[in-house]
């Protein structure tokens, strides 16, 4: 049974809510702008609505259905307590502009979470308002830019390793910087010598991911930071991989000036099929004076103030301004705080330990069949990287990924990082049991054996999913982005 579109089963007369019918002759102060024409929004009764979305959902894979071995995307279990907490009326049903005295608990959540983030990272301050990781990156780069401008030393270049997430160069460019790459060494780390050679008075910042996207810890991180600082630049760390070291290593101790934290990765707020995220940015003492609005300040009497435009001059005159309306992703803060409190200092340390153990177990259980280009570079961190070197001609990383679908698993991250050919990046996270890992490994080995043997049947996978491979070329060439009676035909 294929699920129809709401436009195909609903009508503009049907509704799943009961509201008084608009009364004729009611007062009208709409200034003559009444919307007269029908605009074709279909409605469904509640039973039909529940069924439509239930059926749609059943076509999805999700963490609740199985492992997401997505390198660099950290998909972990979302505790249901956190969903409950976020829906408490004092969090879910408060307006962002309520008087301070009526939202002390909400402000306390922000303040308490901020304190945990600062402590866990060993930094000086945190900007809570960025709405997702990329937004956090932008926030961090804007802090750097504000700091440089404040000292009258605007610079032009941001250095980004080749293995970086695509958002890094995008962010730097968005903030007006020219982006230059830094090569990687043969063992998969930043080429420190090349980096040192490039540093100079035009370099504003270096953006580094650590652990990096090859799944390796940047051993030279502290030395890199020192060199960058010596050159008058700042170190931005992409915190997407913070899960690998949380509770064990503090980026502040490595000389980082700014790092965003994807709450939905390390602190398990639900990914929701593509968001919302939340990207608080921890800042060093050098950057803290330029943090964006708004932020919380704990007063001597224990009350917490929300500092906005009206008070910023008294508290943080260097603030570069507001990055969005209101105070950030409160709904994610409550979840992240509940997650952190649940784990505690001991639990978070166990999180990174188990995440790294699971990744190494994966690495060592597969490297006899698959090329692990940096397998000899030491233990991996929270993710294991492989290349397509062993595959026979005609079979690609994509085919292996789709083959996994037929085995009941979500594919790993493909073709990223770019520094490895046909990259396969696997991050099991700490939430997977040994039994699940063993199941995944067995299935994956089976597929890899087929790929290595050149079984072209894999190029037809998946066969058992709700859909076969999709015609993405046509989708992009002749985009159909909204339903219309004609397009449906």
């Amino acid at each position: 049974l294929e699920e129809a579109l709401i436009f195909e089963i609903g009508t503009t007369e049907t509704t799943g809510v009961d509201l008084p019918a608009p009364a004729a002759g009611a007062p009208n102060r709409l200034g003559g702008l009444d919307r007269a024409e029908s605009f074709g929004l279909p409605g469904l009764s509640e039973p039909e609505t529940v069924r439509h979305y239930t059926r749609l959902s059943r076509q999805n894979y999700a963490i609740d259905c199985g492992i997401f071995p997505l390198g660099s995307c950290t998909m972990k279990h979302n505790p249901r307590l956190n969903e409950k907490v976020a829906r408490m009326p004092g969090f879910g049903d408060v307006h962002p502009l309520q008087p301070e005295s009526t939202v002390q608990g909400a402000l306390a959540v922000i303040d308490e979470l901020a304190e945990w983030l600062v402590t866990l990272t060993g930094m000086d301050a945190v900007a809570m308002s960025p709405k997702a990781g990329a937004h956090g990156e932008l926030c961090g780069i804007l802090c750097i830019r504000a700091a440089l401008e404040a000292r009258g030393d605007p610079r032009e270049v941001v250095l980004v390793p080749e293995s970086a997430h695509g958002t890094n160069p995008a962010t730097a460019a968005f903030a007006g910087y020219r982006v230059e790459g830094i090569p990687a060494t043969a063992e998969g780390r930043v080429d420190f010598e090349a980096l040192k050679a490039r540093l100079g008075p035009d370099v504003a910042a270096v953006m580094i991911t650590n652990p990096n996207t090859c799944g390796l810890f940047e051993r030279d991180m502290k030395a890199i930071s020192d060199a960058v600082h010596a050159a008058g630049a700042f170190v931005y760390c992409d915190g997407a991989n913070f899960n690998a070291i949380v509770g064990r290593v503090r980026p502040g101790d490595l000389g980082v000036d700014a790092m965003h934290i994807n709450l939905h990765k390390t602190f398990s707020t639900p990914h929701g099929g593509g968001g919302p995220g939340s990207g608080p940015v921890v800042l060093s003492a050098a950057l803290a004076p330029y943090a964006p609005l708004p932020f919380t300040v704990k007063q001597a009497d224990g009350t917490i103030s929300l500092i906005e435009e009206a008070d910023v001059a008294d508290h943080l005159p260097g603030s570069f301004g507001r990055m969005s309306a209101f105070s950030g992703q409160m709904g994610m803060f409550t979840r992240a705080l509940a997650y952190i409190l649940s784990h505690g200092a001991d639990g978070l340390r166990q999180v990174s330990g188990d995440a790294v153990l699971n990744a190494n177990y994966m690495l060592r259980s597969l490297e006899d069949l698959l090329d692990a280009p940096f397998g000899a570079s030491g233990p991996c961190m929270h993710e294991a990287l492989f290349s397509d070197a062993s595959f026979a001609k005609g079979v690609s990383t994509l085919d292996v990924a789709k083959g996994l679908i037929d085995e009941g698993f979500h594919p790993m991250t493909m073709y990223f990082p770019l520094v490895v050919h046909g990259a396969m990046l696997i991050e099991p996270t700490e939430c997977e049991s040994k039994a699940t890992l063993d199941q995944f490994i067995a299935a994956f080995r089976g597929i890899v054996e087929r790929a290595n043997a050149g079984d072209l049947g894999l190029t037809q996978a998946p066969l058992l999913a709700p859909r076969r491979r999709m015609d993405e070329a046509t989708a992009a060439r002749k985009p159909r982005l909204a339903w219309s009676p004609e397009a449906a035909a």
């Binding site: 999700a62 307590l81 879910g92 932008l138 064990r248 409190l341 153990l357 040994k434 909204a482």
Partner: protein
């Protein structure tokens, strides 16, 4: 540790496979000096679910929930009744815990939903294409300004006085770094939006005119006239809708000629949540499609010819395009889009119209009642569900005094415009279907008391 499945027996067996003596040994690449030998100081140990829940409940109880008091705040975030089935459905694990649908074969649920969402948004705003959501209204608005620059190759943006000041700040922050010119003045407490002055400011260097509809004071600017003026100078009209429920009653920005329509979708399905996560709406003309920021879902077919949906045109996105991306968005607001879409499906056009009518009916009642309080004057001549009152005293002080009486009276202009003290008597009041006649009476009585 209830969230960690590995047992110590598992860990030993796995370390044997890995060939490491301990988990600590796996961190050997971290310099000794940066490795914490024990637990991070200053943080408590793990806690039971019951303990965490109690802690959070105590914090929650220190807030006054909107539903527990007469409540009149709006100014960009609105309290509407969300049908229970919305929250039930978005909590299904297959939606809640799904990843971005990059693997369409096993993500048709999310993808079809996004396609339906885009279609709903396009119809609601009467634009040809809509994207799969932005972070929120303010960032969507800023992205629209950036997009207008890409399209017009002009660097001057004209911002209406009626645009939400947080949105203005957000745009200004970015302009401070990109060198764009932003032309904006705060509103004055006037009876109607000064559309003529705005129109007069459009010139040949104007990239876009940004107009909120209804505006921050609840007024209804003449979008059609502004659109015509903008187009005549080669500029784009960006319309900003912070209360989508209004479009069940008033003409859509698309119909009135807007080129880009952005909005805050929080009103439908999402809830107040102290400001986030919210939902950025973004729609435009088909001809600007490839300049549009954000993720897009498109219809196509699979290898067997079955209809299906995929993320498409991703070569505009930063995780692919890197430094040549069209926007700063990667993770968006998928789950909020789902909530919006389900709520909209439950409403349908008939329900949205009825909802809007009920909002307007109650707002009219409230405007009359509150405007009759001594020392209170209704500013608006027209409005949808939100209007501005001019108080004889300072509105920020009145809001605080009323909060002490457990009445959440609205948003004072003094809080939004700290640098414009001449509008300190202004109070923005929003009324929705959740407002009762008793609430209105309570506010009227409270205002009378604090202004006396």
């Amino acid at each position: 540790m209830r969230y960690l499945p590995l047992t110590d027996t598992d860990r030993s067996a796995m370390l044997d496979v890995v060939g490491a003596p301990s988990i600590e040994a796996l961190f050997s690449d971290v310099p000794e000096s940066a490795r914490l030998p024990g637990l991070i100081e200053g943080l408590p140990l793990h806690a039971s679910e019951m303990a965490v829940e109690r802690h959070m409940q105590r914090l929650s109880d220190r807030n006054i929930a909107a539903g527990s008091a007469p409540f009149f705040l709006g100014a960009g975030a609105y309290r509407h009744h969300v049908p229970s089935s919305v929250d039930h459905l978005i909590q299904r694990g297959e939606f809640l815990t799904a990843y971005t649908p990059y693997q369409p074969e096993i993500a048709q649920g999310t993808l079809q939903m996004l396609f339906e969402f885009q279609s709903q948004v396009a119809r609601l705003l009467e634009c040809e294409v809509a994207n799969a959501s932005m972070y929120d209204g303010s960032t969507a608005c800023w992205e629209a300004v950036v997009m207008a620059r890409r399209i017009t190759k002009r660097g001057k943006s004209l911002i209406s006085a009626g645009l939400h000041p947080h949105y203005v700040s957000t745009i200004n922050t970015m302009a401070g770094f990109t060198g764009d010119v932003i032309d904006y003045t705060a509103p004055v407490l006037d009876a109607a939006a000064d559309d003529e002055a705005l129109i007069a400011s459009i010139d040949d260097e104007t990239s876009c005119v940004v107009v909120q509809y209804p505006d921050i004071l609840g007024r209804l600017p003449d979008l059609a006239a502004i659109a015509e003026a903008a187009h005549s100078k080669g500029a784009l009209l960006i319309a900003v809708v912070t209360e989508p429920v209004a479009l069940g009653a008033i003409k859509s920005p698309g119909e009135l000629g807007a080129d880009i329509v952005v909005g805050e979708g929080q009103s439908l399905g999402v809830g107040l949540q102290f400001g986030g996560p919210y939902l950025g709406l973004f729609a435009t003309r088909e001809k600007y499609l490839r300049q549009m920021p954000g993720r897009l879902c498109g219809q196509t077919t699979d290898a067997e010819g079955k209809r299906g949906f995929v993320l498409t045109l991703s070569t505009r996105e930063q995780h692919i395009r890197r430094e040549k991306a069209t926007s700063n968005i990667c993770t968006n607001s998928g789950l909020c889009a789902l909530a919006f879409s389900i709520h909209m499906t439950l409403l349908g056009e008939a329900g949205l119209r009825a909802l809007a009518a009920e909002n307007h009916r109650l707002a009219c009642l409230a405007a009359d009642r509150l405007g009759a309080v001594p020392g209170v004057e209704l500013v608006n001549t027209s409005f949808f569900n939100e209007f501005t009152l001019k108080l004889s005293g300072n509105a920020s002080a009145a809001v605080k005094a009323l909060a002490d009486r457990q009445i959440l009276a609205g948003v004072s202009l003094g809080r939004l415009y700290p640098d414009a003290p001449d509008i300190g008597g202004g109070l923005i009041v929003a009324v929705t279907e959740t407002t009762t006649l008793e609430d209105i009476e309570a506010l009227a009585a409270g205002l009378q008391e604090v202004l006396a």
